[in-house]
Symmetry: C2
Subunit: 874 residues, 2 copies
């Protein structure tokens, strides 16, 4: 017997259920579940995602048994509906929709009204008593089928529709009558013949087979692949296909169609939210072609249907205990549900909804925390327009995705991508966006569209990405070819700065000051709940008192990485640093370092004060010395003039210090093995600052970190140096400060010999940036020439500099922890690479048994939440 | 009870034995063993190396019990000799000599005639009836004790001796009479008082304690530390101290002293070899102050003593079954042995002696193979003067260490080091060398001295280092200050080229053509024996048919690494390569690659022919493309003119390809993941060549190697590419060629995920150069600024690019082998980094279970021998 590829639903009973998402896809599972809980759903059947996978591994052929099972299911469907597929008198029409495990809105293909042909259309007209409706459905079918299945560009059909509307002098297609639509059907069929060289397929069974194939194929269209890449969806999953009896929103003014959320997905407010169109089919709403009406108006227009909808809302939220994103059609005042799924929401909404649902008793605290995706809350930490700034908005659109953005206007997705690659901040300005624009939307700071509603493509996608978006801003006039738009009397050309505010819908000329967000309200509360669950500590990478303060405000429990070299560049001190580098001997270096010391001491004092009571991990000098010396003749000239150091001397030094592979050169603790006086100065600065503050009553907890250790003897030697300085300073000041000396584990050899190193280290901090560079042999600065292709090809699932390479670098981290603890049971371990703020990497850190992660200050809330997720899921 | 620190020997019985080298040091063990086998040895006692170690860990204080044990042993010694230490009438005098586990000639200190003072010297004079002898001994004692123990420079004493000789108008110190020597003793004592502020110590017990301390201290003098570093002797070992009753070679013309080898340590010939001086003490021979007489003359001068010596020779060789390096003193025609140890020998001698001793039945084949140190045979593979070249020698010295060298003359060890660091080949020219010169000798290509014999410092050290050396070349007149020497009518200034031939003793002006050596005679035979024992295969790294032929002649069993990029530079092909790099698209690249292919095919044909019947591992393109493009404006200009490619285009490409860390950049298989056409071309060239030759009856065994794999998917993709090309070419030519596709393991990630990789690899070749660079995070090209200090400080025992870092990189190799074999049991594994020719690394490879090592052609014999040692010792 062949495998079960097809699952039927209808008559209040479904073969599948809501938890079968992997098998049936999200849409299929939702339809099955709604059927089972007696929500009105047109009957139909779902072809499994396994069938799609099998289709691809089977050389794009149907798996054995699929055809038979489809025929059987169609028979059941005919019985359930009481109509026959292809019946000339009263035809059963079906929709064919994709549905993957997770929603990929607009990425894959759909065909409605399938089963129509030159004969059945007449039967539909007579059985419905509505000829206009029948031909409207047929022209829609030809267009969708033509576009999706036969590859005829939809522009060709739309042009004919526009021409017809112009000829009839109407502005909406609902104003076209049956005769117009009949004519249009003929024109459409001609287009298909001309473009494909064959007539539009008339046989409903053939139509079905072709449509199912097309849905399977659409899994691998370019935009779907791009979407999956961005959203880290495995290419192996495949899509389900849902074949469902049509209900018609386009039968007249007692019909309609809409999409809605059970709560506001933008703000999270507990309110009906959505849009509908009278006398329309579903695609009209999401395509952004006609601007739909707010759902609340439905109460007035079709009170009966609205009441049904209201009841369904409540049932669904209670059943799913989460916000639902639904699609419905009203056929002659009767409501049919076509889809329900967990609603995508902005981070702000996710927080609000989780918080509210916990307060409402719908979910527990643990679930509330898990409902807020760490990846997403980064949005809440994005810039906003400074409330103190004054500006005039030149236009107002829909507040489709919150946050604010400043950038140069560009008018195509390609330009957005190429400008962004050059490092320009851009705002993508489009009449409406389409799935092809996905790359450009990703590259832009924000998106501004002229048409489309809150559930238009631009709005949905932007919210998913956490990009700020202003949608449906009708007052702007876009000239895409001319690369400009006008609004009011203003002309904005490509490259002109604009600011958009996705929270209010405002569009502003020029650059408005943005401010950094802060934690407050429900978000702060949810993070507090997260803190109750997480076991990983969260620290921040911060080099200045200001950054440290931000981090502390965001809940950092210490500083995991203070890069002292950043202090070397500031103001006058760079001169002393250069003097040190140019010195001929130890005495010369020491003299110059003496000048740097007071600055360093001051910096450390500032940090210690802000972080009072919390540990501050200070990494001693790490970069190669040539980073402090100018290199080009021009720069050498400039520095020479400013500093009074002879050009030749500077130039010679730069040449002398030149390295072929600076990443693997004379840096980190190697500097101190050859020039111990550098770390000595830094140790003095640290302990002088610490002792002074301790004396003043400030609780300081310094942790001195030696970078780039590869051999325990390096650490042994330098720990002794630090300990000696500490002892001397404490002796001199008469103050005792508790401190630790530890090391970065950022070279494979350090991880491999972590047992030897742990004998001399009081803590390990995994420097996964360098560890990734060395373990993979990939220079981050040079990887641009091949790494994107590697990710594209799936050699790496993700950029290993963004999310830790668990099977390679991860082994080294695990090895480092295990070996380190084998020698020093209570060894404190953390991570301070940029992976420290990446949720997947944080989950890995939890698994690897680290004590803390350290990340940039603005990622601290993300890390707190991710750590809670890791603890709850682990 | 305290530990036993002191071991007595005398009266035909010793507390220690010959195998106690670790405890007693080499000298102490030799004295004990000789005593036990009834060879005449003056009695004495040995203070153990453990006492020295304890002394250092005990804050430079004697360990508990040592003083008591020394007093007891001295009592026994007095009984054995029948004289008392400090006795005014007939004093016992002793020598105090260092003796570490392994010989460190001239590195540590010795004091003779200890026990003399203003009173006992009179007793010695009267008891010996030889006043001259007594005062000669006393002045020697003051000088040695003053120098070694009290830190008065020996130059101060020597100056007084020279003045005295001048005043008396004699040229040898034996010509000074007792009165002269008495005066000299007074002058010497004055020098000590002036220099040290106290009188020369008169109390023999104090003298002894001070002398023992001084020997302990001499373990850590600078030259001893340098010597240990060069010879890889652990600093922790410590030295033994031998206190032994004096016998006197300076009592008259029936006395003497000498050093000898039981066979010729330079050629290995079975002949008496050594030197002696009449009426002298031991130090006179090795110091090179008086030029000694060949040992054979002793037969004439002191036939009785010579006969004793001959007997001892035979006894010792039979007992030790190895060449002995001995020191003896003749006191009134009676022979006393002062030392025996395994004789250092040149590689040539080691081979000859091992071969002869096997033939003589003294040792078995296994021992014969183990007697030849792999590190050393490299010497035999060093350049010789081309026998076809004609030249006139301007001088002839002693052929002290074989081989030939060409270099610029320099006159101090410091200059030798600094010139060598600049990349200059130098010959160190010295009147005589001293232990302080060790660094300069190491840096030089060869050493030329004006005085000193075959056992002088220069000769012994040079042989140990495998450096060519001409010693005792009396006809050259060196002006060290003026940095020049004259010989005949010629003036040779610093920087002038000279050639020396250590095999003949010739000194030649200018540069003589040198030739590479070949395997022959006993050496070839020993290597054949080695092959019987070894289990590791030995291959060579060779890129050209010529190198492959050299490798095959040296016994290579295949090519382990052919770097195809070397072929890219040759002749015209670089133009096509540049055209490929500059191409705008795939087609352009393919067109250019088509031009490169015929060259590559030819190269491979050449290699396959030479290596017929043996595997040839071809690594596909590895270096980043910018290596083929000029970089400086000057070079760009040149190439632009020559190639007709526009300057700007070349320049732009160079900038575009620039990398910050090329070592970690777009190279290796990454090139082929982005530009598959490159490897495709190479695969065609390989298989077209292989199939053509196979058709002609040549047995070809290609092994295609993919470099820099970090992720199995890279290999999976590229193996498929190679397999496809192979199949196509074989199909087309109708010839089947067996081949393998494998990978380099040269990134930590590759080793860490070797199980995944092995699923797609038919062999692994560990690229330990890159693996060391990445695991340690050290760029070999940039390491010069800190790695020497790391080795100096003992952070790394040895340069990890020379000898594999077993505890770090070694773990990755072991992991790679284990994980690889866990998936593919019969996985072939090898090493092709430069470590493949390093004996210690080869021993590691044996332990790690590799199948073969691959090294440069000239190292193949070294590797064969080292592999045999590894198998025999493992």
């Amino acid at each position: 017997m062949s495998k079960k590829w097809v699952y039927f639903f209808g008559n209040g009973k479904a073969e599948g259920k809501g938890t079968d998402k992997e098998l049936l896809g999200g849409k299929g599972a939702g339809l099955a579940e709604m059927t089972n809980i007696s929500i009105p759903v047109p009957p139909g059947f779902t072809i499994t995602t396994e069938a799609c996978v099998e289709y691809y591994s089977n050389n794009q052929q149907y798996p054995e048994g699929l055809t038979t099972q489809m025929i059987e299911a169609m028979g059941k469907l005919e019985t359930a509906v009481g109509k026959n597929f292809g019946d000339i008198a009263c035809p059963l029409l079906v929709s064919v929709r994709s549905g993957a495990r997770v929603s990929m809105p607009g990425m894959m293909d759909t065909v409605l009204n399938l089963g129509l042909n030159d004969e059945t259309v007449k039967g539909l007209a007579s059985s419905s008593g509505n000829e206009r409706f029948a031909y409207d459905s047929y022209r829609r079918f030809i267009q969708m089928f033509g576009d999706v299945v036969l590859g005829v560009g939809h522009g060709k059909f739309e042009r004919l529709l526009t021409d017809m509307k112009r000829a009839k002098n109407v502005d909406e297609d609902t104003k076209l009558d049956a005769a117009d639509l009949k004519k249009l059907v003929d024109q459409y069929k001609d287009v298909v013949s001309t473009e494909t060289g064959r007539n539009f397929p008339q046989e409903p069974k053939e139509q079905l087979k072709l449509a199912v194939n097309a849905v399977f194929e659409s899994w691998n269209n370019q935009r779907a692949k791009t979407y999956r890449k961005i959203n880290k969806i495995p290419h192996e999953w495949g899509t389900g296909v849902n074949v469902q009896a049509m209900v018609f929103g386009n039968m007249g003014d007692d019909c309609g169609t809409g999409v809605a959320f059970t709560r506001n997905p933008s703000t999270g407010d507990k309110e009906f939210f959505g849009e509908f169109l009278i006398n329309a089919q579903g695609e009209d709403v999401v395509a952004g072609i006609r601007t739909p009406n707010p759902i609340i108006e439905l109460k007035t227009v079709m009170p009966e249907a609205f009441a049904q909808l209201e009841k369904v809302y409540q049932t669904l939220e209670k059943h799913y205990k989460d916000v639902q994103d639904i699609e419905f059609t009203i056929e002659k005042n009767k409501l049919y549900m076509l889809q329900t799924r967990s609603g995508k929401r902005t981070a702000k909404a996710a927080v609000k909804i989780a918080y509210d649902m916990f307060r409402e008793g719908l979910i527990d605290k643990r679930t509330a925390v898990l409902r807020v995706a760490p990846q997403q809350v980064d949005q809440l930490l994005h810039p906003m327009i400074d409330p103190k700034s004054s500006y005039d908005a030149v236009a107002k659109g829909l507040p489709a995705s919150p946050g604010a953005a400043v950038g140069k206007a560009v008018f195509t997705a390609e330009e957005a991508e190429s400008w962004a690659q050059r490092g320009e901040a851009v705002i993508l300005v489009r009449k409406e966006t389409s799935p092809e624009d996905i790359g450009g939307m990703h590259a832009a700071q924000g998106i501004l569209t002229a048409t489309g509603g809150m559930t238009s493509h631009a709005a949905v996608v932007a919210r998913g990405m956490g990009k700020c978006c202003v949608a449906g801003c009708g007052s702007i006039n876009i000239d895409e070819k001319g690369r400009k738009f006008t609004v009011g009397g203003h002309l904005i050309k490509e490259g002109d700065f604009i600011t958009i505010n996705g929270t209010t819908g405002e569009v502003i000329l020029g650059q408005v000051e943005l401010i950094e967000p802060s934690l407050s309200g429900e978000f702060a509360e949810i993070l507090t709940w997260a803190d109750e669950f997480r076991t990983l500590g969260v620290r921040a990478n911060a080099d200045t008192p200001h950054d440290a303060q931000v981090a502390r405000d965001f809940g950092a429990e210490g500083i995991g990485l203070c890069r002292t070299e950043h202090m070397f560049f500031d103001g006058d001190r760079i001169d002393a640093v250069r003097e040190m580098i140019l010195a001929y001997d130890v005495d010369g270096r020491k003299k110059a370092l003496e000048k740097v010391k007071p600055y360093q001491r001051e910096d450390f004092e500032g940090l210690f004060k802000v972080m009072e009571g919390l540990p501050v991990t200070i990494r001693l000098l790490d970069p190669p010395l040539h980073e402090f010396i100018p290199h080009t003749d021009e720069d050498v000239e400039k520095v020479s003039k400013a500093s009074g150091i002879a050009f030749d001397r500077l130039k010679r030094k730069a040449q002398e210090l030149h390295e072929f592979n600076p990443m693997l050169g004379h840096r980190g603790c190697r500097l101190a093995v050859t020039f111990p006086e550098i770390y000595e100065m830094q140790a003095y600065a640290i302990f002088e600052a610490a002792c002074k503050l301790k004396k003043e009553g400030v609780n300081v907890i310094p942790e001195v970190m030696i970078p780039l250790v590869g051999h325990y003897k390096e650490l042994e030697e330098l720990k002794e140096l630090v300990d000696n300085v500490a002892a001397e300073v404490m002796e001199k000041t008469g103050v005792k400060v508790d401190y630790l000396v530890g090391t970065m584990i950022e070279l494979p050899r350090a991880a491999l010999t972590a047992d030897e190193i742990a004998a001399h280290a009081q803590f390990f901090s995994f420097g996964t940036n360098d560890l990734t560079q060395t373990a993979l042999g990939i220079s981050r600065d040079d990887a641009g020439k091949f790494l994107p292709q590697y990710v594209e090809k799936g050699i790496f699932k993700e950029d290993p500099f963004v999310s830790i390479d668990q099977s390679g670098v991860g082994q080294l981290v695990e090895m480092g922890v295990a070996k380190g603890r084998s020698v020093r049971k209570e060894l404190k371990t953390g991570i301070c690479g940029e992976h420290g703020g990446d949720p997947d990497s944080i989950a890995f850190c939890q698994k690897a048994g680290l004590n803390y992660v350290s990340c940039s200050p603005y990622r601290v809330p993300v890390a707190r939440l991710a750590a809670a997720h890791a603890a709850l899921k682990g």
